[in-house]
C-alpha cells in the first residue's frame, strides 16, 4: 500500500509537470499580454507598459518564462536572474580578481538569454536591481574568504579563489509561491484563497446536499421499484439530468432574484455583511448560497439517485441477500446491514470524482451566477491573460483531480476487501 501511494505520488508529480507545460504552452499560443489592456488608455505611457512587461519577464523567451514560473514553485529554487540563467549566475567581475574560464564543461553552455546584458542594463526592472544589488555589495565588501563562504561549498579553497565569470547558483531554501497576479498586483496565493474557499464552500454544500438527498431517494426508489414513488422519481431524474445547469440557473435567477427580489442576485455576502451579528452572517451566506447550491444539487441529484437505485436493485437481487432473508433476519437489517453497504461501495468512486471536480466543476455556473469563486476568477484571468493566476488555478484543479482519483482508489480499497494495492 505504501509503495503504491509513493508510486502514485511520483507519477502524479510527473503528470503535474506535464500538465503545467501543456497549460503554459497553450496559454502562450495567444498573442499579446495582460498589459496590452493598459495601452488603450491615453493617460498611460508606453514606457510604463514596457516596464510592466519587463518586470514580469514577458519579453523573454517562453521557456525562460516557464522556468521563472517553475522556479517560484520549488521550495529549493534556483534564483532567477534577469539574464535568464537559472543555474549560473553572472558575477559582476570584481576588481582585482582574475576572470578566468573554469575547467568544467557545463560552464561553456552559457545560457542563451545571457547574451542580453545590455538590454538588462538599459531597462533595469525592479526585482532585478533589488536582488542583484545586495549580492554584489557583499561580494565587494567582504574579503575573499568570507566571500567564498557565501558562495557555499562549491567555492574552491580560499587562497586561490578561481572566480568564474559564471558561478554555480546553488539552490537555496525559499517559500514556494505561485507568483504574482498581473491584474491584482498581489501574490497569486492571496488572490485565490478567498475564491477557492468560496468555491469549496459551494461545492461541499452542494455535494453534501446531493448525497443526503440522493441516497435516501435512490434507496426508496429501489425498495419501491415500479411503484408510483419510484416512477415519479425516475421521471424527475430524467428531466433533472437533461436541464442544462446554466439554463436552470438563469431561470431561477430571473424568477427569484429578477422578478421578485426574494433571493439575492449573486455574490456570497451582502454589502452590509460586516454590520451583522454572527447569526445573521451565517444566514446571509446561506441565503446567497441557495440558488447556486440548488442548481448544482439538482444537476448531481438525478444521476446519483439513479445510480444508487440501480446498485441497490442489483444488490437486492444477489444471493446473499436472499440468504439473509431466508435466515429470517428482519427486513430492515437485511437492507441496511447487508444490502446497503454493498450498494454504496461503487458510489465511493463517484465521490472521489466529485472531489476531483471541486474546482472546475461548477465554473460555468459560477460565471453565470456571478458567484465569487474560482470559476469566475479564472474566467476573467483567462480573458485578460493574467497568466500566473491562470496557471495557479489550472494547477490547483489538476492537483485536486489527482488527489480525488487517488482518494477514490484508496477509499475503494478500504470499502471493498476484494481490492488491494500491493
Amino acid at each position: 500500500m505504501g509503495a503504491y501511494i509513493i508510486r502514485r505520488i511520483l507519477i502524479a508529480l510527473g503528470m503535474l509537470i506535464g500538465a503545467s507545460l501543456l497549460g503554459f504552452g497553450v496559454m502562450k499560443l495567444t498573442p499579446g499580454t495582460y498589459f496590452d489592456l493598459l495601452k488603450m488608455n491615453p493617460r498611460i505611457s508606453q514606457e510604463h507598459v514596457d516596464q510592466q512587461i519587463a518586470r514580469y519577464g514577458l519579453n523573454q523567451p517562453v521557456y525562460v518564462q516557464y522556468l521563472r514560473w517553475l522556479d517560484n514553485l520549488l521550495p529549493f529554487g534556483f534564483k532567477p536572474t534577469e539574464s535568464g540563467s537559472y543555474l549560473w549566475v553572472e558575477e559582476s567581475p570584481a576588481a582585482g580578481r582574475p576572470a578566468q574560464a573554469p575547467p568544467e564543461d557545463e560552464e561553456e553552455e552559457s545560457p542563451p538569454a545571457a547574451s542580453e546584458p545590455a538590454e538588462a542594463a538599459t531597462q533595469p526592472t525592479q526585482p532585478a536591481t533589488l536582488e542583484t544589488q545586495p549580492a554584489t555589495q557583499t561580494a565587494q565588501a567582504t574579503p575573499p574568504a568570507a566571500g567564498a563562504a557565501t558562495l557555499a561549498a562549491s567555492a574552491p579553497p580560499a587562497g586561490q579563489p578561481a572566480m568564474a565569470k559564471h558561478k554555480f547558483n546553488w539552490p537555496r531554501f525559499k517559500w514556494p509561491n505561485l507568483g504574482e497576479s498581473f491584474e491584482h498586483q498581489e501574490p497569486v496565493w492571496d488572490v485565490i484563497t478567498r475564491p477557492m474557499l468560496n468555491t469549496l464552500l459551494l461545492n461541499l454544500v452542494a455535494i453534501a446536499l446531493t448525497w443526503l438527498v440522493a441516497l435516501p431517494l435512490g434507496i426508496y426508489a429501489a425498495l419501491n421499484q415500479h411503484k408510483l414513488g419510484d416512477l415519479v422519481l425516475s421521471a424527475i431524474s430524467f428531466v433533472g439530468m437533461s436541464l442544462p445547469g446554466f439554463f436552470m440557473a438563469l431561470i431561477l435567477l430571473w424568477l427569484f432574484a429578477g422578478m421578485s427580489n426574494f433571493l439575492p442576485p449573486g455574490g456570497l455576502r451582502s454589502a452590509t455583511y460586516d454590520q451583522m451579528t454572527g447569526w445573521h452572517k451565517l444566514l446571509d451566506v446561506a441565503w446567497h448560497l441557495i440558488i447556486p447550491a440548488i442548481v448544482l444539487t439538482i444537476g448531481g441529484l438525478a444521476g446519483l439517485q439513479r445510480i444508487t437505485r440501480g446498485n441497490m436493485l442489483e444488490v437486492l437481487r444477489q444471493q446473499y441477500v436472499t440468504t439473509a432473508r431466508a435466515k429470517g433476519l428482519p427486513e430492515n437489517r437485511v437492507i441496511y446491514r447487508h444490502a446497503l453497504r454493498n450498494a454504496i461501495n461503487p458510489l465511493i468512486t463517484i465521490f472521489g470524482y466529485e472531489l476531483a471536480a471541486l474546482f472546475s466543476g461548477a465554473a460555468l455556473l459560477e460565471i453565470v451566477l456571478d458567484y465569487p469563486g474560482m470559476g469566475q476568477l479564472m474566467f476573467t484571468a483567462i480573458v485578460s491573460k493574467d497568466e500566473p493566476l491562470v496557471m495557479a488555478g489550472f494547477m490547483l484543479g489538476a492537483i485536486l483531480l489527482l488527489l480525488g482519483n487517488l482518494v477514490a482508489d484508496l477509499l475503494l480499497a478500504v470499502a471493498d476487501p476484494r481490492i488491494s494495492y500491493s
Partner: protein, 351 residues
C-alpha cells in the same frame, strides 16, 4: 524431401515466463513460470496428448509453440523450420500449416462475423483461391464437419456449443494445415457431444493425415485418441510414453494419480486409488527440486521404507512427511526407462 520418419514438430527446452511487476518503479519482481523447460516431439500423422491439471501450463505450451504468446527461451522446429526464429512474413506462411482449435466454443468465434466469413478469413488472409472458390470451400467444409452448407450466412450465436466447435474445426481446416493444436476442444461440451467431436477429429485425421497436439486435462479423453501421451505438472513434463505404455505402466506418481481418477468402463478391473494431497503449488514460486514433492504419494511409502538413507522432513497438509533429500534439492530430468527407451519419466525415486 524431408525424411518422413523425422518428427513433424520438435519442442526443446521451451519456457514461457510471465513477469510480475510491483513496487514504486514497477520493477520485475518475480515470474509466473507457466512453462518451465518442456521437450517433446509430434510425429507425422500422429497425435500427441498433452495432459495435466488446470494451471499446469499445457495451454500455454500450445499457444507458445504457435507463437501466439512470446516464449522466454527454447526452440520449436516445425518440419525443419525454427518457428521461433521466423520473420513475420515467414510466420504467416507457416500459419497455414499450423492451426488451433480452442476450448471455448463461445469465445473463439467472433460474434460479429457470419460463419462463412469466419471460415473463409484464413483463406482470405493467405490469399488462397478466389472469392467464389472460397465460398464453395466454406460450404464444403461445413458439410465435412457435419453442418449444413447454407449455414454460411448465420451468426455464431445461433448455434449450439457442439455446432460452434465444428465451425472452429472447419476454420482450422480451411487452409489445409498439417498440424492442429487441439486445445481441450471438448472439455466445454456435454459428454454426449464430446464423442461426436472426437470422432470428427479422428476421421479428419485419417482422411487428411494431420498431426495433432491434443491438450486435455484428464487422461480419459486422450486414451482413445492419442498415439503418444505427455503428462505435465507445473510447467514441466513429468512423463511421456506411448498411449499403451502410459496406461499400462505409469511410472511417475503423478501419472498414477491422474490415471486413478479415470473411470474404468470394465467393472472387473480394479485400480489402486491414489489420492493427491494438497493443491497445485503456485507457478510463481514452484517448490525446489522436484516440483511434485510436497504432494508426492511416494513419500508416504517412504515413511515405511527404511532403506532410503538420505531423507528430510517436510510438512504436507501440516503432516510431517519424510521424503528423499534429493527430491527437495535436485530437479529431476526426463529420462528413458531402461527397458523402454520411448517411455520417459522424471521421478528421482524411480530412476
Amino acid at each position: 524431401m524431408i525424411d518422413a520418419a523425422a518428427p513433424l514438430l520438435t519442442v526443446s527446452d521451451l519456457r514461457t515466463w510471465f513477469p510480475i511487476r510491483r513496487g514504486v518503479f514497477s520493477r520485475v519482481h518475480a515470474y509466473v513460470r507457466a512453462v518451465d523447460g518442456v521437450d517433446f516431439t509430434v510425429s507425422r500423422g500422429k497425435t500427441l496428448g498433452l495432459v495435466g491439471e488446470s494451471g499446469s501450463g499445457k495451454t500455454t505450451v500450445g499457444r507458445t509453440l504457435l507463437r501466439l504468446i512470446p516464449k522466454t527461451t527454447g526452440q520449436v522446429f516445425f518440419d525443419g523450420q525454427d518457428v521461433m526464429a521466423l520473420g513475420s512474413g515467414e510466420l504467416r506462411r507457416l500459419r497455414r500449416r499450423m492451426q488451433i482449435v480452442f476450448q471455448d466454443p463461445f469465445g473463439s468465434l467472433n460474434p460479429r462475423m457470419t460463419v462463412g466469413s469466419i471460415i473463409t478469413e484464413p483463406m482470405l488472409v493467405h490469399g488462397l483461391y478466389d472469392r467464389r472458390e472460397r465460398k464453395r470451400r466454406a460450404a464444403e467444409l461445413l458439410e465435412r464437419v457435419g453442418l449444413a452448407p447454407e449455414h454460411v450466412n448465420r451468426y455464431p450465436h445461433e448455434f449450439s456449443g457442439g455446432q460452434r466447435q465444428r465451425i472452429g474445426i472447419a476454420r482450422a481446416l480451411s487452409v489445409q494445415p498439417d498440424f492442429i493444436v487441439c486445445d481441450e476442444p471438448v472439455s466445454a461440451l456435454d459428454v454426449s457431444i464430446q464423442g461426436q467431436i472426437l470422432n470428427l477429429l479422428s476421421d479428419i485425421q485419417d482422411e487428411l493425415g494431420l498431426s495433432y497436439l491434443f491438450i486435455a486435462h484428464n487422461l480419459a479423453v486422450v486414451e482413445q485418441f492419442a498415439d503418444d501421451v505427455a503428462v505435465m505438472y507445473l510447467g514441466r513434463i513429468v512423463e511421456t510414453a506411448s498411449r499403451q505404455d502410459i496406461y499400462a505402466h505409469p511410472t511417475h506418481p503423478y501419472t498414477e494419480a491422474l490415471l486413478s481418477a479415470v473411470p474404468i468402463p470394465d467393472p472387473t478391473l480394479e485400480r489402486r486409488h491414489v489420492r493427491l494431497a494438497g493443491e497445485v503449488p503456485s507457478p510463481v514460486n514452484p517448490p525446489a527440486g522436484c516440483a511434485f514433492h510436497p504432494r508426492c504419494p511416494l513419500t508416504r511409502k517412504l515413511a515405511q521404507d527404511a532403506d532410503v538413507k538420505e531423507t528430510t522432513t517436510i510438512f504436507s497438509d501440516s503432516q510431517p512427511v519424510r521424503i528423499m533429500a534429493r527430491c527437495t534439492a535436485e530437479r529431476p530430468s526426463l529420462r528413458p526407462l531402461a527397458d523402454n527407451p520411448a517411455h520417459c519419466h522424471a521421478c528421482l525415486m524411480r530412476q
